[in-house]
Structure formats: C-alpha cells, structure tokens
C-alpha cells in the first residue's frame, strides 16, 4: 500500500511540475524553485507604476544603485547565482564605523554629493531626497551619517547661518574637508529643546563666546559622528547676555583637528554599543568653557554686537524660537520619506518569498499550497502594501510641499511633516515585524535583511522628534486652527480642513460593497471621524480651561482624544494624497489596480477601533468593512508580484530569500 501511495505521489509530481526532459526521477520528487516571474503576469506596466510612486530622479537612483553594486566596499555576496549587497553586521562596532566612512568617501569621490550644499533650487533638493532614499535602502548607518553631515550640520549652516557662514563652511562641508555633527540633544533634554542646559556667555573683552556644560545632565548625548570622526559641530545652548537668558542659540565649535585629536577643553566619550545602527559613532560631549569667536554664532535670527548687545528682528521669544527651529523640518521630512523604502524592501522580499514557498496541502497527494495563496497570508501582507503605496504618495506630496515652500506655508509643513514622520515610522516598524514573521525562520537570517532592518530602524520612532510628542503637536495645531477659524466666521482654511466648512457627512445605514469601494464614501468616513474628534477635543479642552486649568494642563489631561485626533488627521491627509495620485491616471489596468489598493487602504483605516468606539460605524457595518477587506485582498492576489516589482528596488538590495532560496542555501553554494 505504501509503495502504491509513494508511486502515486511521484507520478502526480511529474504531471503537475515540469518537462519530461533530462532530470532524473529523484530530483522530481524534491521541491524545486520556480521564479515568480514565470507563473505570474503583469497586468500593468510596472515601469509606469514605478514612475508614479518614485516620481522623480529615477535615473539618478539607478546610477547610485549601480555605484553601490559595483564596489567591493558595499560587501557584495553571491547567493544562488545572484549578487547581493548589504553591510556585514557581523563586524565589530569599530569596523562598521570605518566601513561607513569608507563608503561615504567612495560615493563622494564618484560625485554623488555634488552640489548638495552649494547649489540652490528645487532640482537639487529633489535630487538630494532621491539620493538619501537610495542610501537608506542600503544601510541606515550610511543614511544617518550622511544625514547628520548634510542635513543637520550643513542645514544648520545654510539656514541658521548668514552669508559669511555660507562662504566659509558650505564648500568645505560638501567636499568633506571637514566633518560635521549636530550637538543639540542632551542627557537630560531631547524633545524639549528649549530646556537644554548648556550655557553660553559673551566675553566682550576678547569678542568670544564661552560655551560650558554646567552639570552632568547638560552633557550632549547621542551626537552622531562625534565619537570618532567629526571635526566640527553646531552646539545648541542657552545664551546669557548681560544676565538675561535670551534662549536657545547655535554656535560653531571645532571639536577635532584634521589629525583626529580632540580639541582642548572638550571631552568626548563613545555612547557605546546599540541594538542597531552601530555604523554610526554616537558620542557624549562635555564643553569646559570653550571659547569661540563671535562670528561663530549662527546669526540668521539673532546676533550679538562686538560690544555685547543682543540684537534680534523678532521680539517675541516664542516666535523667535519657532523661526529658529523651522529649518530642522527637512531632517524630519528626510526620515519620514526614507522610512517608506524599508517597508518596500521588507514587502518585496516577503511577498516574493511567499510566491515561491509552499506549506501544507489541502488534500492528500496534492502539492503544498503557496504561502501567498492562503487568505490569511494575503490578509497579513496586502494591507501593508496598500499602506506603503499610500505612504509613497503622501511622501511625494510632502516633498513637493517642502521644495515649493513659502514663509506662509511653513506652519503647514511643520504640522504635516510631524504627522507623517510619526505615522510613517510607526507603520514601518509594524511592517518590518509582520514581514519578518511572514518569512518564518529565514527572517532571522541577517543576510535576508528584513529582520536586521528592525534593529537598524527602531530608532526612527524616537529621534528627530518623539512620535507621541509630534502627534500631540499635531492635535494642538488643529486646536489652534479651530480657534482661528472661529474668529474667521467659522471658516476653515488650510491643512485640508476645508471639509469642516461643509455639512457633516453621513454614513449610509447599509454599507454595500459598491459603497465601501467608493472614494467619496471613504473620504466622508475619514472626514467624519476627524471632524467629530476635533469637535470633542476642543469641547473637552475648553471644559478643562473653564475649570481653571491652563492650556498646557488641559492638553495634558485630554491626551487620549489628542492621540485619536492626531491619527484621524494623519489617515485623512494621507488618504487624500492617494486619491489625488489616482485621479491623475488615465483609465486602464493601472488605475483599476491602484483603485483596489486605495480602497484597501481606506478600509483598513476605517477598520480601526475608533470607528466603533466613537460610534461612527454600527457593529454590522464594521463586519461589512472587514468582509470587504478580505475580498479586496483576494482581488489583489494576481497583482502581488507586479505591485512589489514596481517599487523599483534592484534585486541586489533585497534578501536572497526573495529569489532562488533553495540554490542560495545549497551545498554547492557553501
């Protein structure tokens, strides 16, 4: 009986698998790898889709990918006949830092950073964004070292400094003749920049500022680049002039000479090993009455005269601080937009894997089922694809908002970038975790990338602004918009809040499939939640204030509504960018597939517990939403390969399990 069973199995494999050619019988009974390209079709042109989601500088990206792929410095390895590039995370902390610097030097020599600080205009800003996105796909340490040097140090010179700073520092920075870092965060103060404790005074006799770390909690901490390589830094410090604290200002300080010796009166210590990002040398810095020339004050917003008078065109210290900090937005934008690319790497890897890996048969003698043919696996991964596409469109919107900025749009940029940075980085960590699990044990292998990315990118949720704090800022801003609108005859303008001016949207009692897929309904539902939560938040905060609480105390007490409101705003704003991108398309298969994705994104937002908690959806309708989500996932199954191929990430930057994972692990490959 056993013999017959075995024989039937082998015959079944013959019939279901391949050609009757030269392979021997034994190899047919084994699993063999079949690339997804051969069994899946592309219903739309993936080049067009890539153009839609990457949007700009495609040629530059491919060139940069090529630069990395063709150099031994980027650790190429052959697996299953293909070349993969990814840092060697098994190296020691010191070695990883050296490699990061070597990679930067290589890219510098090839002209990858040309014009990044010395050119002006929309073109170079978009090119920089594209360059950073590509670097972030390779390695977070590379991205962060570059980000600190160009966006934080370089950005500080550009935006906080004036002409003489630009002339003196920008070219040298772009050519890496000096290496910059950014000393803002302290041991005792991260998010609350205004509370930092470093103190600077002015010595009018010598025309120098004296910068000092008065106590241990005032030491600079987590300063990327400081521990090993940086020669210069921008120090943020309270400025005391004639006994008055004029608030936070920034000063250029040299911390190392060209030979790597630490400058006098400065102490630097390595922050130590981290759970990831060990290619970045973070340092702790103490300033012991360090003296710098008066010109080293970055004086775009305020200045000190040679005889020690404080001068500023902005009287109000709050406004002055806001104007001062505004330029840091670009760092936050950079982190938000690049986080989307890690999600893309993870999804491309795990979905391609799921298109070739099988587990369990539904019936005896049948071949095992492909992972991605299980509705449960689709339910895990496709909503994440929808989120990633949504984030791509929102990222492009944010980039455009930034490069076309005006003084009037600064506030909008600040709020939208805060909302998107928090949302994208949280989504990213969720997506990385889910994809790691979807790859099973293979997700634990460092070279398969997905799992390693979790440790490398975890920091995103707390640096450049802690996510919870950023979302609180969003809700506070919406509160302020509400108040401002009241004064304007209840007319809302800006931040996409114009829907508040229209009558309150109504959710139909019966949610059919057609309604659920209608973009108008989806927008109505998201706007309804935002509107209602904003009203409730304002009402609760006003109630607290009526009882005598200050604004700050009221916001603190109403934190739950604030959080829910922040999420509602973010979901709605991101969804709007998805709809806008979809409308630009001509009718066709690309638009149809994108429409299905768009509905999936909307419905997973609407599936959120807040819709039931606050009563926007009945329990029955909630069930209808969930059912529709499953249907949408099934509809997207045929497009899975096309959707992840459209990410435009070259094979070499994904994990080997995205390709011939059998050959990659074969004895002959060892």
């Amino acid at each position: 009986m056993e013999q017959a069973f075995k024989r039937t199995q082998i015959l079944t494999n013959h019939l279901l698998q391949s050609s009757p050619s030269s392979q021997t019988l034994s190899s047919n009974a084994c699993l063999s790898y079949s690339p997804p390209e051969l069994s899946e079709n592309y219903a739309f042109d993936i080049k067009d889709m890539r153009k839609l989601i990457d949007r700009h500088n495609l040629e530059e990206r491919d060139w940069l990918f090529g630069l990395m792929k063709q150099s031994k410095l980027f650790n190429p390895k052959v697996r299953g006949g293909k070349v993969f590039v990814s840092p060697d995370y098994n190296q020691s902390m010191e070695q990883q830092r050296e490699m990061t610097l070597k990679r930067i030097e290589y890219l510098l020599e090839k002209g990858a950073f040309k014009g990044w600080l010395t050119e002006k205009g929309e073109d170079i800003e978009m090119r920089k964004f594209a360059g950073f996105e590509v670097c972030s796909i390779y390695d977070h340490s590379l991205f962060t070292k570059l980000g600190v040097h160009f966006f934080l140090w370089g950005g500080a010179i550009q935006f906080f400094g004036t002409k003489h700073h630009h002339d003196k520092w920008l070219r040298d920075t772009e050519n890496y003749w000096i290496k910059g870092c950014f000393a803002m965060t302290e041991l005792g103060h991260g998010s609350n920049v205004r509370g930092i404790e470093t103190v600077t005074t002015y010595d009018s006799n010598t025309g120098e500022f004296v910068i000092n770390t008065p106590c241990e909690s005032a030491q600079k901490y987590w300063i990327g680049g400081a521990a090993n390589h940086a020669t210069h830094t921008v120090v943020f410090s309270q400025l005391h002039i004639n006994g008055t604290n004029q608030g936070v200002h920034a000063f250029i300080v040299q911390i190392r000479d060209a030979d790597g010796n630490i400058s006098p009166n400065i102490r630097i210590v390595d922050c130590g090993h981290k759970i990831g990002l060990n290619g970045v040398d973070n340092g702790q810095i103490w300033f012991d009455n360090v003296r710098v020339p008066r010109e080293n004050l970055l004086n775009s917003v305020a200045d000190v005269s040679p005889d020690g008078k404080y001068l500023s065109s902005i009287e109000n210290p709050d406004q002055r601080f806001a104007a001062f900090m505004a330029p840091l937005t670009v760092g936050r934008i950079n982190i938000a937009i690049s986080s989307v690319y890690q999600s893309k790497v993870a999804l491309a890897t795990s979905i391609r894997y799921a298109l070739t890996r099988r587990a369990f048969s539904l019936k005896q003698n049948e071949p095992e089922v492909l992972l991605l043919d299980y509705p449960s696996h689709q339910r895990r991964l496709f909503p994440l694809v929808a989120k990633t596409y949504a984030m791509s469109f929102a990222a492009n919107y944010l980039k455009m908002l930034y490069v076309k900025r005006t003084p009037q749009s600064n506030k909008t940029i600040h709020i939208v970038s805060s909302s998107f940075k928090a949302t994208f980085t949280w989504n990213n960590m969720q997506i990385l975790q889910e994809c790691r699990e979807a790859c099973g044990g293979q997700g634990l292998k460092t070279e398969n990338r997905v799992g390693q990315l979790k440790g490398e990118y975890d920091v995103q949720s707390t640096f450049e602004g802690d996510n919870l704090i950023l979302m609180q800022q969003v809700s506070k801003a919406l509160f302020a918009e509400y108040m401002a609108a009241q004064k304007r005859n209840k007319v809302f303008k800006g931040l996409g809040l114009e829907h508040m001016n229209k009558p309150c949207p109504v959710i139909p009692l019966q949610l059919t499939s057609t309604t659920l897929r209608c973009s108008q309904f989806q927008m109505d539902a998201l706007c309804l939640r935002e509107r209602d939560l904003l009203n409730r938040f304002v009402a609760d905060v006003s109630k607290c204030k009526a009882k005598g609480e200050s604004s700050e105390q009221a916001f603190m007490i109403c934190y739950e509504l604030a959080q829910d409101l922040g999420k509602a705003f973010s979901d709605r704003a991101i969804f709007q960018t998805f709809v806008d991108a979809e409308t630009t398309l001509p009718a066709g298969s690309l638009k149809d597939v994108l429409g299905t994705l768009r509905s999936l994104y909307a419905l997973i937002c609407i599936e959120d517990v807040s819709f039931l908690q606050y009563g926007y959806l009945s329990v029955d309708n909630g069930a209808n939403v969930r059912r529709e989500i499953t249907k949408l996932c099934t509809e997207l199954r045929p497009h899975a390969l096309a959707l992840v191929s459209s990410f435009g990430i070259p094979d070499a930057f994904l994990g080997p399990i995205a390709f011939n994972w059998i050959e990659a692990n074969a004895w002959s490959s060892v």
Binding site: S21, S34, L38, D62, G66, Q70, G80, P650
Partner: protein, 346 residues
C-alpha cells in the same frame, strides 16, 4: 540565420537526445555581427518595420539562449562582435582563444550596444561595462577571461580535442562540462598594455553620472598623466555619435538593475526608435559613412552632447507611438526546469 538558429534551438530544447549545444564559426570569425547593411536596405525598401522584425527575431533568440534549459558552449575562436555576442554571451560557457577579438562597436555606427549587452556589460567588474560599451574597445581572449566575458581560455590547437571530449561525455551537467573544458585550458597572461591594468582610471571616469562628466574626468586624467591610452579613449568617444553615447550609457545603467528579459524588452523599444529615425538619423548616417561609402566621416546630428536633452533620451525608452507596434514578446519558459544559473538572470 537568426530564424534557422531559433528553429534549431527550440527543437533541441524539446529533444531529450540533445544534451548540450555547441556553437562555433567557420573561418576567421566566430561571428562579426548582424548584417547591418542588409537591415538598412530592408528599411529603405519596406520601412522601419522590416528592420524591427529582424531585431525582434534576434532579441527573441538572445532571450532563448539566456534562459536555455541546456548548457550552450560557444567557441569564440576569432572575431566576436555585435550580434555575435548576442548569440554567445548569454550561453553558459564561452571559450576564448588566442585569436579572439571582442567588441561592441555600435556607438561608432549610430546604434547602441544591443542584443542584451545592457545586461552582460553592466555586470562586468566596476564600470568596465560602460567603458567597453561606449568606446567599442577591442578585447583579446585573455582580457575576455579576466573580466568574465569568457568562462575559459583554450589554445586554438586544442579546440578539436575539447569538442570530442564534450561529445563523448554526453552530459548536460554544467559542472562536468566545465571540468572537461578546464582540462584543455591554459593560463593566459594579459599583455603589458592591457586596459585591464587601467581599471582604477576606468572606474574613476566611467562611473560618472553623464557622458559629459565622463569626458571631463578623462580629460582631467590626461592632465595628470600624459597617457596615450586615455587620449585615444577620448578621441574614440568624440568620434562616436553623441546620441548613441547618451542612450548607451543610460541603457547600461538601467540594465545593471534589471533582469535579462527586461533588458531585451527595453533594448527593443530603443532600437525601434533608432530605426524610425524619430529623433536622429545617426544610424543611417553611421552606416553610410562606415559601411557603405566608407569615408569614415559621419556627420552626426545632433552633433554635440549638450544639444541632446535628457527628455530626448527618455523618449528612446518609451513605447513606440504606433497603433500596430507592440512590446517585444519573449518566448514563455515556464514549462522547463530552468537551471539555477538561468533563474538568477530573470
């Protein structure tokens, strides 16, 4: 010949008695390339579609060879250029000899390195692929082995023995085939003046973002070290069609991150645009000057790199705006047990 090769390769794949396919040339060349003059005549007689038809067949053959389920051994005992590379480089084994001369000389003709060259050139070490594709540089057997264009180097005298041994072995196993050819291999030393010793300069210059920057980088190198080879390279680039240079560079850069099927599909679009003469007639001018009138003095139009906008280059990569035109349809390969080295190329 393309049609005949297609027929044969398709038949051999289904025939269980065929274990491997060996390809060799008669005379002093393996294959000097496609009959470009004939293509031009076809286009004059029947319009650009006649030319497109040729390339469609040729690229389909190239794809079939690249994804063939049985090993192909090409004996490159002589000139192997242009289309000759298309029918050999995609195979599993390429045997060079002391007589081999490799080149992809299309940019001098107003064309671009096609036949899947954007796939195999972009995968050479560093930026050697850009150098070879843009300059049409000639490489000998030793250089081909060094950079990976050839998999083995066998002195021509021993070739008959290789053939006999492979036939006797009667095997499809690439490991066995490789070890058989290995037995007849000899160490080939690179000549003193070899470009392969100049990889540092090549990487520095040919990694630049644009053709203009490549030329500037080369010119800077000449200032630092007065060097005949660099000057010659600059001259070659200056004599090539500026349009060809730009589209070739983009093709190799994009091809570096694409599979072989995507490369061929893209190259087909590009070659159709070239034949339609939509943006430039350089292909026809190049053929006239080099192959027909042989005055070796082509008048390129646009004549300067600066006059060719990125948007024009973009258009070579887009679909052809013609009702009857379709993207290259590659033969389906799903029913064959593809070997791992083929799967890695997709």
């Amino acid at each position: 010949m393309i049609s005949r090769l297609l027929e044969l390769f398709l038949a051999y794949e289904e025939d269980p008695n065929v274990k491997l396919v060996m390809l060799k040339g008669e005379g002093r060349a393996f294959c000097a390339g496609g009959d470009v003059v004939a293509v031009v005549h076809d286009i004059w007689a029947g319009g650009w579609r006649a030319g497109a038809n040729f390339f469609m067949k040729e690229f389909s053959l190239n794809y079939l060879m690249a994804t063939y389920s049985k090993p192909q051994v090409s004996i490159l005992n002589g000139i192997v250029m242009g289309g000759g590379n298309g029918v050999s480089m995609h195979g599993r084994f390429r045997v060079a000899t002391e007589n081999s001369v490799f080149a992809m000389p299309e940019t001098a003709l107003g064309l671009f390195p096609d036949v899947g060259a954007s796939y195999f050139l972009s995968r050479l070490p560093g930026f050697f692929g850009e150098y070879v594709g843009l300059t049409g540089a000639r490489l000998d057997g030793a250089e081909m082995l060094a950079c990976g264009l050839a998999t083995h180097f066998v002195p021509s005298a021993k070739l008959p023995m290789v053939e006999v041994a492979l036939c006797d072995a009667d095997s499809s196993d690439p490991v066995i085939i490789s070890s058989i050819i290995d037995q007849y291999c000899e160490k080939s030393s690179l000549k003193e003046q070899t470009v392969y010793n100049r990889l540092d300069v090549i990487d520095r210059c040919f990694s630049q973002r644009t053709v203009e920057e490549i030329l500037s980088a080369l010119e800077r190198e000449v200032v630092d070290q007065r060097d005949g080879w660099i000057s010659a390279t600059i001259q070659t680039l200056k004599k090539a069609s500026p349009t060809s240079l730009k589209i070739s560079l983009r093709s190799i850069r994009v091809g570096r991150v694409q599979g072989v099927g995507a490369c061929l599909t893209r190259e087909y679009r590009m070659v159709c645009h070239v034949m339609r003469g939509e943006f430039s007639n350089d292909f026809f001018e190049g053929c006239r000057a080099i192959l027909l009138d042989k005055d070796k003095n082509p008048k390129w139009e646009p004549s300067k790199l600066e006059h060719i906008a990125d948007t024009t280059v973009d258009r070579y990569f887009s679909k052809v705006k013609d009702e009857d035109w379709e993207d290259l349809k590659l033969p389906t390969r799903s029913k064959f047990n593809l070997p791992p080295y083929v799967i890695a190329k997709l």
